[in-house]
């Protein structure tokens, strides 16, 4: 079997996905045996900047023209482009306040010198190129990544859950943070895959994996309001990880 050529790229982000990949300590040697890593600057020198790739895993959001350039180049040289992590899939935290002009931020942070930096509103990869598969998570789940790689090696696109965090939360028999504890839990509208990690620690879901396909945001907001949360608190939480998701944008426009 010819080993597929893989590239692991980071645009702008915290490198969480790359770290999670390196965190697959027990499987790393197996993975290296099964694939041919051509580009992974976080882990190796002498990266191949040009070769055709079978699969490109891309982490991070696009926040500057440089990111966009790199992304387009990656698309050109890759058969499959897989967005990994919430930043790449949804825009992530950096896209929290795209309503504020970048110049304002630059000036606040760098003062007058800020003008010489280029910055664009943070956006997910799909706004620029075709994305073949999205594995969200902030960071991605190790298990999910490993299963995805295995599926890809077998020639299939991986199966990812399309249901909400609540489903996993219930399967794990955790105490409900929303119903029982009246906490601001986004589990009902957040895509599963983390095993309802946070409710498992008695922490409400912050929505770090982004919304499910058909998220009933209006109902979620209504429930939270009835519990006494202010629209501001609710909106802030909704904005944290996937403010750019259309289904959430619709909600923001309503208010």
């Amino acid at each position: 079997m010819v080993k597929p050529k893989i590239g692991i790229f980071g645009l702008t982000g915290c490198a969480g996905e790359q770290i999670m990949i390196l965190n697959c300590e027990d499987q790393l040697i197996d993975i290296l045996g099964a694939i041919d890593i051509r580009y992974f600057p976080t882990a190796m020198t002498k990266n191949d900047e040009e070769c055709e790739l079978d699969i490109a895993f891309v982490e991070g959001a696009v926040v500057q023209p440089k990111d966009e350039e790199l992304l387009k180049k990656i698309r050109q040289r890759s058969k499959l482009l897989i967005a990994i992590g919430t930043c790449a899939v949804w825009g992530g935290l950096p896209a929290m306040r795209n309503d504020v002009p970048r110049e304002e931020f630059l000036e606040k942070v760098y003062g007058t010198k800020g003008k010489s930096f280029k910055s664009i509103p943070a956006q997910p990869l799909k706004n620029f190129v075709k994305v073949d598969l999205s594995i969200s998570g902030c960071p991605i789940e190790k298990e999910q990544f490993l299963k995805a790689v295995a599926s890809l090696l077998h020639g299939d696109l991986p199966l990812l859950p399309s249901y909400a965090v609540c489903t996993e939360c219930k399967m794990n028999e955790y105490v409900c943070m929303l119903v029982g504890e009246n906490k601001l839990c986004l589990g009902p509208i957040t895509i599963a895959g983390c095993g309802a990690r946070c409710p498992g620690y008695n922490i409400p879901c912050h929505g770090c994996r982004g919304p499910v396909d058909e998220a009933n945001v209006a109902s979620e907001v209504k429930i939270l309001k009835e519990k006494g949360f202010t629209l501001r608190d609710i909106e802030n939480r909704l904005r944290s990880f996937a403010a750019q998701a259309e289904i959430l944008q619709e909600q923001f426009k309503k208010e």
Partner: protein, 287 residues
């Protein structure tokens, strides 16, 4: 009913797929292949039988399982033929397999056509698109037991000649004196098509049907059902004499996983063949 579960029950695990080898792959139309499978276990190979209209759960090892109608006739045992359209995860994986690869098969499942009832009647088979896959089994069953049936009529509609499943096999039937094989296409850009043009319902003009002694067996896309049913009802067909094969998502094939349930029926064990009467009495059944 007896044929349904005897095989699966042998080992007491109703979900157990048995290994079968892909012995031949016959290209059909684009993205459709006919797979000839032979069970690895010789006993399975010789014991496996089914009723036309039944399906198997086909496993592509590592990719998953999907329901597929049996296209071959039980009158020709030893080989199970499946005509598959490439559409998703499992079917794509199936298309990647080389000849002689192993797949998993369990079944046959579903009620199949009520053969005992159909016998001694006229048989009107109406197919559209992939609908020919299960109907081919019925057709050959009837032709191989020719004396048990009265008139046999096949009506098949496709967009173009290039999109007719089992085209060469069916074209040969046109000349067969003991049946009526009516094939129609919407258009033929190459200009070589010699049979009918137009939608499948137009073929009704070429036949005389006695609703009292005829069973109609339908399988095709929803839009076809809509028009064909209208035509049949117009000709006073009893709802009990219209048999249709319905499609629903399936995971287990044996009435447990819930996916194919409509109202209080399971498409997999109560169907996939339903009479029109059953169908209209199930909520959601007919769109």
């Amino acid at each position: 009913m007896s044929t349904r579960s005897t095989l699966a029950k042998v080992k007491n695990d109703i979900y157990q797929p048995y290994l079968a080898r892909i012995v031949k792959v016959l290209p059909q139309i684009q993205d459709h292949l006919l797979f000839q499978l032979k069970f690895e276990d010789p006993r399975m190979a010789s014991n496996f039988t089914h009723r036309p209209g039944q399906f198997v759960e086909l496993s592509v090892i590592g990719s998953g399982e999907a329901p597929v109608s049996i296209s071959s006739s039980p009158t020709r045992p030893g080989i199970v033929e499946l005509c598959v359209r490439k559409t998703g995860r499992v079917t794509n994986a199936l298309f990647r397999l080389p000849l002689n690869a192993l797949v998993g098969v369990r079944g046959p499942y579903g009620n199949g056509f009520p053969i005992d009832k159909l016998e001694d009647n006229n048989l009107l088979i109406i197919a559209g698109g992939l609908g020919m896959a299960p109907l081919r089994s019925l057709l050959w069953y009837a032709l191989d037991n020719r004396t048990k049936f009265k008139d046999i009529i096949l009506m098949l509609g496709a967009k173009t000649p290039g999109e007719i499943l089992f085209k060469y096999e069916l074209l040969k039937l046109i000349d067969r004196p003991d049946m009526k094989c009516l094939l129609t296409v919407d258009k033929d850009e190459e200009g070589i098509w010699k049979a009918h043009f137009g939608v499948v319902t137009k073929l009704f003009d070429y036949v005389e049907l006695d609703p009292a002694t005829t069973y109609a067996a339908l399988c095709g896309p929803p839009i076809m059902y809509k028009f064909v049913l209208k035509e049949l009802l117009k000709r006073n067909f009893s709802k009990d004499r219209i048999l249709m094969s319905l499609e629903r998502k399936m995971k287990c094939g044996v009435g447990k996983c819930g996916h194919c349930s409509i109202g209080y029926k399971y498409t997999c064990i109560d169907g996939p063949i339903f009479t029109y009467w059953d169908a209209i009495n199930l909520p959601e059944m007919v769109e």
